[in-house]
Every structure is written in C-alpha cells, then in structure tokens.
Symmetry: C2
Subunit: 400 residues, 2 copies
C-alpha cells in the first residue's frame, strides 16, 4: 500500500471526530474543561448605576443652579440599599461599588471636595453624570458573556461566579487508555540491563492529556501475540480511544497491525510520508472505538500525538481554535528524503513581536533528549528539500 501524505492522514483522522456528550459540573471544578453552553448575563452589567470613585453623590441640577455646599444626609457603602436625598441641597457620602439612588446623578471624588461639620464643599468644576458606571453599560441582561466551545479559563470561572452559574455544562471527555509495548522496556524504578530501556511513553502521553483534564489509564504489554490480543479485546470494550506506542513497524514482533486485523478492526491507514512517525497505524473497531497506534520511539510519539491526536481531540470536543501557529524559521534546514519533515524547534517571540523558530540538531527520531529544550515541531513541506532562514511555516507546540 502506498504511504499517504500528512494532509491525507489529518483528513482521515479528523473525519473520525466523535461527540462524547455533555454533563453538568460545579463551576469550581470546571477549570480546563470545555464549555458546552453560552454563559448569559443574568442581569445588566453593572446591575445598577455605581460610583467608580469614593466621594459624594449629588443631583447635578443643584450644582448648575450655583450650589456648592451639600449637607451629607447619609453615608452609603457598597452592599447597602440605595439612599435617596429629599432636598437638592443634600448629598450622599458614597463608596465605590454602592448602588446610586435615582435622586442623585453625579459623583464627586473625596480629592475634589472638603468636608466640615457634615457639609461637603465642592472645589472643582463638576460635570453631570461624572464618575458613574451606568447600569447595563457593559452588557445587558440576556446578552452572551462567554461563548460555548472554548477551554474554561480562570476569567470564565470568575464570570460564571458573578452570574451565579454554579453548575456549568461542559463537554464529556473520552475514556482513554495508553498502551505501551516492547519487551525491552522496563519500569522506571528498575535498573536496566545493557540492552534494556526504561519506559517513558505512557507517563509522557498521560501528562500531555492532563492539560485537557483527561485522566488516562496506562498499560504496558510485552510483545506476546495472545496477550496483546486479549488485552485489546478488553480495552476496545472499556475505552473510547486506545493510544498505543510501539509495535507497528516492520519488526517480527510488531504484532499490532496483525492483531487488529484478526479482531476485525478496520485499518484506516498505515504509514505516512513523514519523519518522525512514519509507521503510524490508525484504525476503527466495529463499535467505533478508535486506535491510534504510534511508532514506539518517544519523538515519534510526541509528534503524532500533537500533530494528529490533539487536533482530533479538539475537534471532537468542539474547541474552536487552531492547534498550530506560524513561525519564522531562524536557520537553514536541508532534508533530502521524500518525507514531510517535522523538526524540533525552540519558539520565542522577539522584541519585534515576531514568533521565531530555531531548530536544534537532532539525530533523527530516536533522540528525545532535545524534547525538553525545544517547544514545537516545525512542519516542513514534502515538496521541498531546502528550507531557508526567514521562511514561515506551521509549528505544532508541545511545551507551554
């Protein structure tokens, strides 16, 4: 079978987006979840005419008639019922955030008055309506404050609190299991033999998914055909998505494609014209469960996860934002293979406001030692072999 292009792979994967439904949760637990409903103003914002400073509230027509001295009728702080004046020569000593009564229409700062024996004297030219944040100025009751289909940020939590939206509709998250394979991979707490490595793919992928509030399970399988088959049957039953690492190459013990075929899992593609991540296998079980089977080396896993799985996740959760950003390449790159090359780069915004991408020298897809000091993969088009400093390409960020 012909290898497919990156674009074809993306199209196939995104066409498999799924809706996992919605649920209501307390707003205190909603940080990082995906908002599934618009948040609506439950009343005008602000809900009343409010002073933006501390001082006195007067009726401006009295000032216009030449009056500069006002009898302080009462002190009104925020949270107290509005206090009316009975006479035009009166004022209310009033605090920021209090609710102005309709008998007053202008606020003058403490800095601009002097108070003596219960009389406030105005020392400036006053303008009608000054220092008041008018009812409904920001938003009207019923207006949308926050649109659905975005990640819930601290600001959105605050807005939810302010409108009394203590239970919020959010998108349900898929149940995911991360399955790593490979007989040579031992537990991190063990001492490897000279020919063994410690496992890291499971915990790395699990950590990436935490950003989306997904608590994925992990499982490691040795390269035993029957064991892999048994566990795949169970996992396809219990989970929505299987994220697998390893076992998809040409090796004698790369059983995954074979096991999947035996289980009647439809292969949607195997192998993409890309480096790293060429042997990526993607399929769908009869019950619609999806299997993303990435090649086992850590850099390939990282690339396939951020280039394909995260966009699939965002599409499924209806997050309306791109997963990539354009950046300006800072150095020349030569790549003489008929593959779309994803180079590891360090991203930076320079003092001109330009997003720059500097590539590091890596030794191919097995070299994960640079993943911590870089931020993104820059996607270099298949059609070219030379990429020059100053050219602009898509980047896929993995370190925030």
């Amino acid at each position: 079978m012909e290898m497919i292009t990156v674009q074809q792979a993306e199209d196939i994967i995104l066409s498999q987006n799924q809706d996992f439904g919605k649920e209501y949760i307390p707003y205190e637990q909603a940080l990082g979840r995906i908002l599934a409903e618009d948040l609506i103003a439950d009343r005008d914002l602000p809900p009343f005419d409010r002073p933006t400073v501390d001082g006195i509230a007067i009726c401006h027509s009295s000032y216009e008639k030449g009056n500069r001295s006002f009898v302080i009728k009462a002190v009104q702080s925020a949270g107290e019922p509005s206090v009316a004046i009975d006479l035009e020569e009166e004022c209310i000593e009033i605090m920021t955030g209090a609710a102005l009564d309709h008998t007053v229409d202008t606020v003058i700062r403490y800095e601009d008055i002097s108070i003596d024996s219960g009389i406030a004297k105005v020392n400036i030219n006053s303008k009608k309506g000054q220092n008041i944040h008018l009812k409904g100025k920001d938003k009207k009751e019923g207006e949308i404050l926050v649109k659905a289909h975005q990640i819930i940020t601290p600001a959105i939590i605050g807005i939810a609190a302010s409108i009394g939206k203590t239970r919020i509709s959010v998108k349900k998250l898929p149940n995911i299991i991360i399955i790593s394979t490979g007989d040579e991979m031992i537990r991190p707490e063990k001492i490897p033999s000279p020919y063994q490595l410690r496992r890291s793919n499971g915990i790395t992928v699990q950590s990436v998914l935490k950003k989306y509030n997904i608590d994925a399970d992990t499982l490691h399988l040795d390269d035993h055909y029957e064991e892999i088959k048994k566990e795949l049957i169970r996992c396809i039953d219990e989970y929505d998505v299987l994220l697998m690492t390893g076992g998809v190459s040409m090796g004698k013990f790369d059983y995954l494609p074979q096991v999947c075929e035996e289980l009647g899992i439809e292969k949607l593609f195997h192998k993409i014209k890309q480096r790293p991540g060429k042997p990526f296998w993607f399929g769908k079980a009869r019950n619609k469960k999806l299997i993303f089977a990435f090649p086992g080396n850590p850099v390939s896993v990282f690339m396939c996860l951020h280039r394909y799985f995260i966009p699939w996740l965002k599409t499924s959760l209806e997050i309306r934002e791109d997963s990539y950003q354009f950046a300006v390449l800072q150095n020349d790159i030569d790549f003489q293979f008929p593959l779309q090359y994803f180079a590891q780069v360090k991203l930076k915004v320079n003092e001109s406001g330009q997003l720059t991408a500097e590539s590091v020298n890596t030794n191919g897809s097995g070299d994960f030692s640079h993943l911590a000091e870089t931020d993104a993969f820059i996607e270099l088009p298949l059609e070219q072999n030379c990429f020059k400093k100053g050219e602009v390409y898509k980047t896929w960020k993995y370190n925030d």
Copy 2:
C-alpha cells in the same frame, strides 16, 4: 505620598522575592512543578548501538569482500541480550531498538533484502555503519539532559522516567490565602439584592494559581475593622503570602491600610500610576510575610495579579523566563491620563508569524465582561497618550 511608577512598583516587589526551599516528590506528581535540580544522563544515550530499522545486522568487511548472502544465525528482538556472529558469512535478523553486538557493524532494512531458506540476500549497495544509532550519539553519561529552574513539562517527566529519576527535587510552593472583602459581595449561589454583587475574585485568583500547582485557600471578610484585624493576625501567622482584593481605596470602609499600620506591617507602597489597579497596596509583616492588596474590581485584580504577583512568584521559584511577550498593536488607542494604561487585547499569531494584539473597547476597570474574550494586557507607556497601529509593546498574558 507621591504615586510610584509601574517600574518602581515592579522593582520593589521583585526585591521581595523569597526562597521557600526544595522538596523531593515522586516524578508522577511533578508535572507543573519547578525543577530544582539538573537531570543527568545515567548512561550514554542511546545506551548501546541500536538499529534504527528492522532487518539484518552484518559485519561490513564481509560485504566489502563481495559476499551478498548471509546465513541468519539468530533472530534478536529489542530487550534481548546481544547475539554475536561467529563467522563473517553470518548475520543476525534484528529488530529496531535491539542492542547490536560488537561483531556486527551495519544494518540492512527488510525492504532491501530477500530471505529464503534461512539465507538473507542483500539487494542494495550497503554502506558501512548504516541504519545504526550509535551509543552515546545523543548524550554521554553524566551530561545534563534538563536544566534546573523550569516548569516540569510532559517531556521532562518522560526524560525523568527514562533515566530512572523516580524522585525529583522541586521548589516548594508558598502557602497562600486569597482574602476578598466587601459587604456587597455575596456567595455565587445566592440571589443578589439589587445593590449586591456575587463574589468572583477569590475563585478567579485561586484558578490562576492552579496553573502553578498552588492550592490557595480563600476567605471572605466583611468590612468590619475588628474582624479584619483578627483575621489578618491569624493569616500572617499561618500563610506566606496574603493576596487581598478590595478595601484599599479612599472609601470610609477601606480599612486595610489602617489595619495593616496598626499591626506593624510595613507599607512598601500604596498606589501606582496605572489604570486599572491604581490603589494597589503592598506591604511586609515583621515575620517577612507579604501582603499584596489589590483594588477590588475584577479587572484590577487580574491586572495586578499577572503584572506583579506572577513575576514575583516566578522570581521566587527561580523560573527563568519572562512573563511578558512583545506584540504588534492592531488599532490606535488614545489615553489622556497621566497613568500607565493596561488595555485588554486579543492576541493572535498571524500567517506571517507576527504576534498581534487587538484591543477591545472596555468601559474602564469595572468591566470584566471582556476578560474571557481577550488574552492579555498590553502595557502602554506613561509618557505617551497616543498609541498607533503597528507599534510594538509588552503584553502580559492571562488566558493560555
């Protein structure tokens, strides 16, 4: 007292950075914490010569002598001890990630050989040493893989796993309490009277701090002098940092500065030439506990938190990265006050790789309804009143 500038405020706050020490935690819990030690390669990376493809491993001198057919002596998969050849005419059928024996030095892909009756025939021109990722090529044992003083990302967790670093030294986090004030502020689940508002500052600030793995406590105090005093005494004893919202303006019930003075808390400044956030009060108790007292409106809180507190936190935790990014203003802004203006902007990277900042029309500091649809404050210099499209300024991001 003269108001200070933004730069002076920043200098005073950053000079109060504190070291909260270090602790060891399991690597599975370290995501988002601050790495306090370098992570070192425990052996060469890769730890052995490893094939980068599946195929056969040969001794190239035999090929050079004209031999093209190799007897398959054994199959060696990843995780198995290395298998040596005894004769030059032998080869090992070997899988990606296995450990090459020193008797072989070249790997040829399955795609480039044909196998019949236990004999592999080479169909291409082979180059000595090809398809091998050499021991120590990426990093040598003892080399630094990850430098201290950065936020622990999924990639760093993966590297820690791969070197068996199952307990990691991280910076301890400060104990923080967020104290909101204001009689008019009721709990979000209650129905406000026409002159009341629902509380949101506490949960918003708490949500922002979760990004840094800080679980801050919250407390709401009414505007009662003795109550505030009693609670401040307790909190200064129990916490490292008090983040307060409200109670620092000119109002009759803005007790905080007065209470702090009575408790012998040193005022380091009160009021900054800025909008929003002008009445920000900052002080230090005798036991070195810090009090950040922000004005109560949500936009001021957000601005002071991201412009001052987060940089203080990063400095204290020794995170070596700037908290701001330069961005290109997308529209003209006029601001005719002798204050440094922080405008709410929407950030975007355009198709040229430029970070752009588009300001939204807000109604001054009380209007928090735009915080969800914007990403950052753009900091517009005090000395100017007009800011033009295309000019580049610092931005302080609050929505990631």
